[in-house]
């Protein structure tokens, strides 16, 4: 049998989402970024808003997201995506705007931008990939690194006396009146993926209501930075990350009475 005999429409069980470009993903095999990308793109495809969407990816492993997502994208300086997105959305209120940020980006260098965009109640979607580490620069401590967890700038484990506690930025942001919808999800199992997709759908639909930020945290693995195999990293994430960053909705708008 030749490969051409196998690749036939009737044999397809799984294929690339339309809104992916032809570029192979550059993420480490096993990394959650790829799945998160796919769920985002499926939502945009189903909502049929490719032509109305502008994405902003700042620095982090996903800095090259614009190579993979076949939508209009801006690359922002490290931490500044919420400021960039603010202007994009205000200048083009009918567009769907999102940021796609890592924990270092959203909760360390960009904390000010994050908090103030949320506090102003900007009408865009923030997607927050929390892998508890700086993936791109080779595994340094992130604001979300767990107590005792090792990283290259806390080689003996995060000592909270010296380095401070992990920042539950998501819970913090949920306090702000400008923030409309907050949820925390994951992408390591089919079930988790389905829930993430649903959350992303809500987060984008919400933009039509103009009620403020919709915030989707995705707790994800960084098997390279954690120095584990993909399977080990998913297990470690379930055992350690989820107890500290429990999955589920954190702020859900009261349904308006009809």
């Amino acid at each position: 049998m030749d490969i051409k005999d196998i690749i036939k429409p009737e044999n397809i069980v799984y294929q690339k989402t339309k809104l992916f470009t032809e570029k192979p993903l550059s993420y480490c095999p096993g990394c959650g970024h790829g799945t998160a990308h796919r769920m985002l793109l499926e939502v945009l495809e189903e909502m049929n808003i490719q032509d109305k969407t502008v994405g902003i990816a700042p620095v982090g492993c996903s800095v090259l997201a614009y190579e993979f997502l076949d939508i209009d994208m801006q690359q922002a300086a490290h931490g500044r995506a919420p400021a960039v997105a603010t202007a994009v959305k205000r200048l083009m209120p009918d567009k769907f705007v999102f940021t796609y940020q890592g924990d270092g980006d959203l909760a360390a260098i960009g904390t000010a931008e994050t908090i103030h965009a949320c506090n102003r109640g900007e009408n865009f979607t923030m997607i927050f990939i929390n892998n508890g580490i700086y993936g791109m620069t080779g595994g340094q401590m992130a604001p979300t690194t767990l107590p005792g967890m090792r990283a290259s700038t806390c080689p003996f484990g995060r000592d909270t006396e010296i380095m401070g506690n992990p920042l539950k930025i998501t819970e913090l942001l949920a306090q702000l009146p400008g923030v409309y919808y907050v949820t925390r999800q994951a992408v390591h199992t089919p079930n988790a993926v389905r829930k993430t997709k649903k959350a992303l759908r809500i987060a984008f639909e919400n933009q039509k209501l103009k009620k403020g930020i919709s915030f989707v945290e995705i707790v994800s693995n960084c098997n390279s930075g954690w120095k584990m195999t993909p399977n080990q990293s998913n297990k470690w994430m379930e055992d350690n990350m989820f107890p500290f960053y429990p999955l589920g909705d954190i702020k859900v708008p009261q349904l308006e009475k009809v």
Partner: protein
């Protein structure tokens, strides 16, 4: 003799900071210099010398931590690479304005923008011409070896406190990442709080009955006062020019042509000199070690015997402007260099010299 080690340039910076008796390091990860903080966090000087090491939430935060520490008379430093140094520029301007001592290490990578993480020398203008806003300069040291990465941390602190001015160590990804032998200087104990108060009577260490309150500021609303302040800064920069210019001359005595290069380019040129000399071409290398103050006088003296200068930099040509000013346009000065993170090879540099001055 001190301890002999094989180390990366970045590690040498970190080790030297501990040995120099630094009080604090504040940083934010960025390639190609993250080993500096990684090394410090592994060595844990806070348990030995008491040096504080902190990962800040951004470069903006880190340079402002440095500002706070320096304002207390402490020996503090930060390090970053090009995009992060751009973020620090506001803080550096404040340090210069408030006349505070600090050491800032830039392990340069190719730009503009996010650019590349590969080595470059394209931040020369930013480092030597001010970089942030206002009338000010940094004292800029350009190490060309791992040994100098270590030595210049110590010299950097000395200069920072001598002039009460920010000092930049302008390195690059190649020097930061490579390993060489280094002889580490013997550790110097950190100053006691009493020693600090004595050395830095201006520092905000807590007002006592014996003195007026100390204020650290760069704000002078009266423009005449501000002008006087800037004149005072100028006098300082002129003193640097008189007292603390540093350079190295290699095979310059009988040279007819000259490479002028700093940092890793100087190392590459050194090999190009060997290649040229082997073919009977009399070339020398002039290596500015301080980029500000620039060794203009020495270069002008040398230029009377020289037929042409090739400024070799990993950039489109930035230092060449200082060279031209130094030699007062009396002899031809040309540029050669790869940029964007590409490193020129000794062979390429030699060919460039030939095609520029020897008809190919």
């Amino acid at each position: 003799m001190g301890e002999l080690k094989l180390m990366k340039g970045n590690e040498a910076v970190a080790e030297a900071a501990i040995r120099a008796g630094a009080d604090g390091y504040f940083g934010y990860p960025i390639t190609p210099q993250s080993e500096i903080m990684e090394y410090l966090m592994t060595e844990k000087p806070y348990e030995t010398t008491g040096m504080v090491v902190l990962q800040a939430e951004s470069e903006v935060a880190a340079i402002n931590m440095v500002y706070g520490g320096a304002a207390c008379g402490r020996m503090v430093m930060t390090s970053s690479s090009s995009p992060g140094i751009s973020l620090k520029m506001e803080g550096i301007s404040y340090l210069a304005g408030a006349e505070l001592p600090a050491v800032i290490v830039n392990v340069v990578r190719g730009g503009p923008g996010l650019g590349t993480i590969q080595p470059s020398q394209s931040d020369y203008f930013q480092a030597t011409k001010g970089g942030g806003h206002g009338d000010y300069r940094m004292y800029v040291l350009a190490p060309a070896s791992v040994q100098e990465m270590s030595d210049f941390v110590k010299i950097g602190f000395e200069m920072a406190f001598k002039y009460l001015n920010p000092v930049m160590i302008l390195s690059d990804g190649a020097i930061g990442q490579m390993m060489e032998k280094v002889v580490l200087f013997d550790p110097i104990p950190r100053r006691t709080p009493e020693e600090i108060e004595k050395q830095c009577p201006w520092a905000t260490t807590g007002k006592n009955a014996n003195r007026k309150h100390n204020v650290i500021t760069s704000l002078l609303l009266d423009s005449h006062e501000q002008e006087q302040h800037v004149f005072k800064l100028r006098d300082k920069y002129e003193r640097m020019q008189k007292e603390d210019v540093k350079f190295e001359k290699i095979q310059c005595d009988d040279a007819e042509f000259l490479f002028v290069a700093y940092g890793s380019s100087a190392r590459i040129c050194q090999k190009a000199v060997d290649i040229a000399r082997a073919q009977g071409i009399k070339v020398g290398l002039f290596r500015p070690i301080t980029l500000f103050p620039f060794p203009s006088e020495e270069l002008l003296k040398l230029s009377s015997q020289i037929k042409g200068i090739l400024s070799v930099e990993m950039s489109l040509g930035q230092m060449i402007e200082d060279i031209k000013l130094a030699v007062e346009c009396k002899i031809p000065v040309n540029h050669f260099g790869r940029t964007g993170g590409v490193i020129h090879s000794p062979g390429e540099v030699f060919e460039a010299l030939k095609s520029t001055y020897l008809g190919g």
